[in-house]
């Protein structure tokens, strides 16, 4: 019978819609991208499929030789190396501090920290663009009050990267803080009570109970943040367009420029497949490391 499969597994009916949507919109496109990345697909090819040629791994070889891609790759590594720890530590710190109290002030602070997460990146980038402006910017104005020299926030190759990281970190702290807060509140009181009986001080409770028991939350935050930073796109796209001299270009922005500005779909698909593989590999490594370390539980 055709429906035996379903009648034996009723749960399949419930996960089927999700499965279909995931396959059609996520898994299938990955294979399409893989296919396109092996061709010289461009706008002409898109309109006349008979003009599309199979080029094997040529796009991938070109990527390796492309100075622009290499620069974007190392910029992205820079973003990840500095951005991920910053976000994890900062949101953990904020969560721990907010966990100490439950009155109105703490609730308000919680809302305040969460605010940037519900604001669109574009709006934030526009506002930060003004804050970072060399001439009218608030940051340089504050510096000038102390007779400090102007900082080229978005026009110096390295400072520009840091400016973008600070902005993106500020935006993503809110969401990750909520995750940590939820995890903190999930820690059973018994542990604290037991520790208090043993005479543990506040910092000891923090170091030996809270931090280790937040292991899974930390893992979740670290891996989603890592993926997010590898796909770093809106901030450089809006604020610097990858400049100055390509120093804030990210892999995602590189892909966008090639694919949607120059209509080199094959080349862009190769770039996005490389990005996909990098993220996949790093996430798998993280999962492996996670299995070894299971915390107190």
């Amino acid at each position: 019978m055709k429906f035996r499969f379903f009648s034996n597994r009723p749960y399949m009916i419930f996960i089927l819609p999700a499965l279909i949507i995931l396959s059609v919109f996520s898994i299938f496109p990955i294979f399409v991208a893989l296919g396109v990345s092996l061709t010289d697909m461009n706008l002409i090819g898109l309109l006349n499929w008979n003009q599309v040629q199979f080029v094997g791994f040529e796009n991938y070889m070109d990527l390796l030789a492309d100075k622009e891609f290499r620069q974007a790759f190392f910029n992205t590594i820079f973003y990840v190396v500095f951005g991920v720890p910053l976000v994890v530590v900062a949101s953990l710190g904020v969560a721990l501090l907010l966990d100490y109290g439950k009155n109105k002030f703490f609730t308000a602070a919680r809302a305040l920290f969460y605010m940037p997460s519900v604001t669109t990146s574009v709006a934030i980038a526009v506002v930060f663009g003004y804050l970072y402006n060399n001439h009218y910017g608030l940051f340089n104005y504050v510096l000038s009050l102390f007779d400090l020299p102007k900082v080229p926030w978005l026009t110096h190759p390295i400072i520009a990267k840091i400016s973008l990281i600070l902005m993106a970190a500020w935006k993503s702290i809110g969401f990750n803080m909520i995750i940590f807060l939820a995890a903190l509140q999930g820690i059973p009181k018994d542990y604290y009570e037991a520790a208090e009986i043993d005479g543990a001080k506040k910092w000891q409770k923090l170091l030996y109970i809270k931090v280790p028991l937040l292991g899974f939350a930390t893992f979740f935050v670290a891996s989603t943040t890592l993926i997010g930073w590898f796909q770093f796109f809106e901030e450089p796209m809006i604020m610097t367009k990858g400049g100055p001299v390509g120093s804030t270009n990210s892999i995602a922005l590189f892909i966008y420029d090639k694919g949607f500005k120059l209509s080199e779909f094959g080349y862009a698909a190769a770039g996005s497949f490389v990005l996909f593989l990098i993220i996949l590999a790093l996430t798998l490594i993280q999962f492996k490391l996670r299995k070894k370390d299971n915390g107190y539980n």
């Binding site: 379903f6 309109l47 978005l154 001299v245 390509g246």
Partner: protein, 421 residues
């Protein structure tokens, strides 16, 4: 249980088929015998274009016009998607670089046979500015009909220039630089002579044109960056930054503000700045400004010509009705009205005889410049070559690289791109 599942599957199929129905092509001909033409226009023009619908439909009772305004940001993506689906609008507003791109891809109808035809008297490439007509052709064929044009002229602080001895605007490249030097001296610290954005590949192109060399010879598909005149033009351009006459990318002052404050007393821009300048003068106070045609190089004072034309999609089911609309938009009277509603400068030369344009002092400068304005080369590779020009200018201005060797390298890169390497 089994029955329920069957019902579930049936309803699922029904839902999917309804969703599918949404994407199928809508009816082209409505019941009243009218043919519907869909027009995609970008940005502000798109919003204002709906103003002509009434007049057009009154003159062409058999055609129904449907105007869709598309934001510039998403325009390219939308056009690519529509072309890939072989669907979309009948008439599309396109700038010259997009005409090249979509014509080369086969997405646009070749309009050559309608040029100077009796059925569409306004579609006549002789009636438009030469530069605009050039910008509607790809590979010798006509793919677009000019709609409105814009060109870049010199905006200058006439009060400040008078103080340094320029009663009139600089007339040559040498005078322009001299004026910039004197303006910097007059202004003092943190003041510049002229605004030249390094991210705009227009400047190297325009200065080279003025010295009689085309950086990209589109007919012979040859890059000319290593030409002696191209190099000297580039050196001229770069010298403004090296000598502190033009601000580098680290100076982020809004041009209107900088102009009003005298920090950047000259800049090169298009007609959209007229209203902004008038507003700035009204709000920020006392300053005098004027515009002039660009200063000339060794050959002439060629400027950049932009604007947009109207193209017919290769997938349009009603190309004749689409052409009727395009013919209507190219009518001199409609062109003048379009200027009045949307400030778009007429692409049809005869429209400029209308007193509302001919008697305007500011506009007459644009009129004069339009006779000496060119479109960028109509080649598909332009966009990637432009990216390389921007990178080279950044390397020279920010990175301090040598102009000669960079131009030699750029010629190689550009030639490789042109040869399809």
């Amino acid at each position: 249980m089994k029955k329920k599942i069957t019902m579930l599957m049936i309803s699922l199929v029904l839902v999917l088929s309804v969703l599918g129905g949404c994407s199928s092509k809508s009816e082209e001909t409505s019941t009243d015998g009218k043919t519907t033409i869909e027009v995609w226009a970008m940005g502000d023009e798109g919003k204002r274009l709906s103003g002509v619908v009434k007049d057009f439909e009154a003159k062409n009772p058999k055609i129904k016009l449907k105007v869709t305004a598309i934001p510039w940001d998403s325009a390219h993506d939308k056009l690519v998607t529509a072309a890939a689906a072989k669907e979309g609008p009948d008439v599309i507003q396109l700038g010259s670089s997009w005409v090249t791109e979509f014509a080369a891809a086969g997405g646009l109808l070749d309009l050559s046979k309608y040029d100077k035809s009796e059925d569409y008297p306004n579609i006549n490439s002789d009636k438009f500015f030469t530069g605009a007509s050039e910008g509607s052709k790809y590979d010798g064929n006509l793919y677009s009909v000019p709609w409105y044009v814009e060109t870049r002229v010199l905006y200058y602080r006439s009060d400040l220039l008078a103080q340094v001895g320029y009663k009139e605007a600089p007339k040559t490249q040498a005078e322009l630089k001299d004026a910039a030097e004197k303006l910097v001296k007059l202004g003092g610290k943190d003041h510049y002579g002229i605004d030249l954005a390094i991210t705009d590949p227009m400047y190297p192109q325009v200065f080279s044109w003025q010295n009689g060399v085309d950086l990209i010879d589109s007919k012979n598909r040859k890059a000319n960056f290593n030409d002696a005149k191209a190099i000297s033009s580039m050196e001229y351009y770069a010298s403004f930054f090296k000598e502190g006459l033009a601000a580098g990318p680290d100076v982020q002052i809004d041009i209107t503000q900088a102009f009003a404050d005298g920090i950047k007393p000259m800049y090169i821009s298009g007609p959209w700045m007229i209203n902004i300048m008038n507003d700035a003068k009204a709000t920020t106070g006392e300053f005098e400004w004027n515009i002039a045609p660009l200063p000339a190089g060794d050959t002439d004072n060629t400027s950049y010509l932009g604007g947009a034309g109207l193209s017919v999609s290769a997938y349009s089911d009603n190309p004749e009705e689409a052409l009727t609309f395009i013919n209507y938009m190219a009518d001199p009277e409609v062109q003048v009205n379009w200027y009045k509603t949307a400030n778009g400068l007429p692409a049809v030369t005869s429209a400029w005889e209308d007193p509302s344009l001919a008697d305007d002092k500011i506009l007459s400068v644009f009129r004069e410049q339009l006779d000496h304005a060119k479109v960028p080369p109509m080649i598909v590779e332009l966009e990637s070559i432009k990216q390389n020009i921007i990178k080279m200018v950044e390397d020279v201005v920010v990175g301090g690289a040598d102009v000669k060797s960079e131009m030699k390298k750029l010629e190689q890169t550009a030639q490789e791109i042109l040869d399809g390497k």
